[in-house]
């Protein structure tokens, strides 16, 4: 770069930027090991108590009342986690199928409503979460539907289909349409061509889209908050509730574990993308 001083300043700025981004995460991870339960700023020594409390093996010397609360919370926590996983799994499957089908339709066929569909598919992504959440809430209640995991799944699918669509669409744009023609030319019907030629070629895009959908679904708070029933909490909503009730050290432990999980998923995504798939 032209200006060494300018480059130095830019580097400094950027490193501060990265510090800004990672500071909060570092703080949580640090605190989760801090033995001081009251004032987290004072380092009292390393401990795994909070993690143990999470899994129900709380210190016997702790206040029996609060211990009861956290044993309960552990069950609720596990239930919330299970719900999140179920919702994410189903949502990912459905939205991946819908998003991929739409991407293929818009890329390979010319029809009058093509531009309209492109906008239509992007709209859910652009709507603020709260509008979608409210709309679905009113919709379900007016129809008399009970709020449950199913309603959450439906809610997630509405906007996650858009995400999958964008990613698969980008991938399919780089695939030579002559491949599918060649397949048909050699005797394969549409379904066989899809199975043997198009889907394998699309695989990186589909997997990428599915991974993204899974992560976003696991993390969704606002929409879920409005359309979850009382017995169908997901993990983010549960944590949100805990925070609202007050700051507790166990939250740090949960948060750290979540950070760890997200790092693993991000690494997984990176690894998948680095595997070479022949065009």
């Amino acid at each position: 770069m032209r200006n060494p001083l300018g480059w130095l300043l830019l580097t400094l700025f950027s490193l501060l930027f990265f510090a800004f981004i990672y500071a909060p995460l570092a703080v949580i991870i640090g605190y989760s090991f801090n033995a001081n339960p009251i004032n987290m700023m004072i380092w009292d020594g390393f401990t795994l108590d909070w993690y143990r409390g999470l899994f129900g093996f709380a210190d016997r010397t702790a206040d029996p009342n609060s211990r009861a609360l956290y044993v309960e919370s552990t069950d609720q926590l596990i239930a919330a986690l299970k719900n999140s996983l179920i919702v994410a799994a189903v949502t990912t499957s459905v939205s991946t199928v819908l998003g991929t089908a739409t991407a293929i339709a818009l890329a390979r066929y010319r029809f009058r409503l093509r531009g309209f569909y492109r906008g239509f598919l992007l709209l859910p992504m652009m709507m603020p979460d709260i509008v979608l959440g409210i709309g679905l809430l009113i919709f379900f209640v007016t129809l008399g539907m009970k709020l449950s995991l199913l309603t959450i799944i439906i809610g997630h699918c509405t906007f996650l289909t858009s995400y999958v669509f964008i990613i698969v669409q980008a991938r399919i744009a780089g695939i030579d349409p002559a491949l599918e023609e060649a397949s048909a030319d050699l005797g394969a019907s549409e379904w066989v061509t899809l199975r043997k030629v198009l889907l394998p070629q699309l695989a990186p895009g589909i997997v990428g889209g599915a991974l993204l959908a899974f992560v976003i679904s696991m993390d969704d708070l606002v929409i879920t908050y409005f359309i979850a029933g009382t017995d169908s909490t997901t993990l983010p909503v549960f944590i949100f509730g805990m925070i609202r009730r007050g700051v507790k050290p166990e939250i740090n432990a949960i948060a750290t574990l979540l950070i760890l999980a997200s790092v693993l998923i991000a690494a997984l995504g990176l690894w998948l993308r680095s595997r070479k798939i022949d065009k």
Binding site: S14, P24, I104, L121, M127, I130, V131, T158, T161, A255
Partner: protein
């Protein structure tokens, strides 16, 4: 192609999505619109009668009996817009230089830092906001540090102020601004910049006349992607904002879950939706063609 087979395949591919989004996306939005004109029932719920006082309450034509005009709603809506705008601006200021820096790095480092930027945003939003809660509260890390150094005498009241809300939103929105900006900066034609210097322009002039216009699509795109979720944001002000940081999203949440005045909440949602649609339409019709 007009062939019948093709039509069947196309229908098979598109029908599920059309039905699903039509029923579970369009209809709910329409429902909000309808509800915004309904009468709130006395104990929550609705009565199916036309009632325009929901909007009246927001804009000033209250009926004076059941509904009173309070300018607070307009103020909060205005605040949402301004917070969102400030968030966009701050995100731009933060991300633009870093985008340049990353795009000038050697290839291997580029990938590393790109990964590093996106990594935190794989972790839960609520976790990241919670962290800021810990940092910004009166007994939090920031204050402890500043007090410890001796920079301040008493703890700063940052939490539960507009500053905290904007800070939180900026933190959350940074990746949405960074990626489009980076794409634009990365695609800069270096030879144009060289040519500009060659012709005698200063660094600032080159920035203003060459770099800025070239990266404008990325700037506009990133701004739109940041502005829209910021306007309707509810989580950040809920965790970090308190009473002074109330935004439109919190209002809506209150109406639906505490006050149980669904029509009013629907009316507020309609306003948020309108802002979003205006921004989107402006972007698509007027700003996008610039991308050539």
């Amino acid at each position: 192609m007009a062939r019948r087979r093709d039509r069947l395949v196309l229908a098979a591919l598109l029908t599920p999505v059309t039905l699903f989004l039509g029923v579970f996306f369009l209809v709910p939005l329409l429902t909000i619109a309808v509800f915004s004109f309904l009468t709130p029932g006395l104990y929550g719920g609705v009565e199916w009668a036309f009632y325009h006082w929901n909007y009246g309450r927001i804009f000033g034509w209250a009926d004076g009996i059941m509904e009173v005009f309070e300018p607070v709603y307009l103020r909060i809506l205005g605040r949402s817009l301004s917070f969102a705008a400030v968030t966009v601006l701050l995100c731009l200021i933060l991300c633009y230089p870093v985008a340049f820096w990353v795009s000038r790095l050697p290839e291997r480092w580029r990938l590393v830092f790109l990964f590093l930027i996106t990594l935190p945003f794989f972790s839960s939003l609520i976790v990241r906001l919670y962290a800021w809660l810990l940092i910004l509260k009166p007994s939090g890390l920031l204050n402890e540090m500043l007090l410890g150094i001796g920079l301040i005498g008493a703890p700063l009241e940052i939490l539960y102020t507009p500053t905290a809300v904007v800070l939180g939103m900026v933190y959350v929105m940074v990746p949405f601004m960074f990626l489009p900006l980076f794409a634009a900066v990365d695609n800069l034609d270096r030879s144009l910049i060289e040519a500009s210097y060659d012709l005698g322009a200063t660094r600032f002039q080159t920035f203003r006349k060459v770099i800025l216009p070239q990266t404008l699509p990325g700037i506009v795109g990133g701004s739109v992607i940041v502005f829209i979720p910021s306007v309707g944001n509810f989580i950040v002000p809920d965790v970090l904002g308190g009473a002074k940081g109330l935004m439109a999203g919190n209002l809506v949440e209150q109406q639906f879950l505490s006050a149980r005045n669904w029509p009013f909440g629907a009316a507020l949602s309609m306003l948020i939706m309108s802002v979003v649609l205006i921004v989107l339409v402006t972007f698509v019709t007027r700003l996008r063609p610039k991308e050539g």
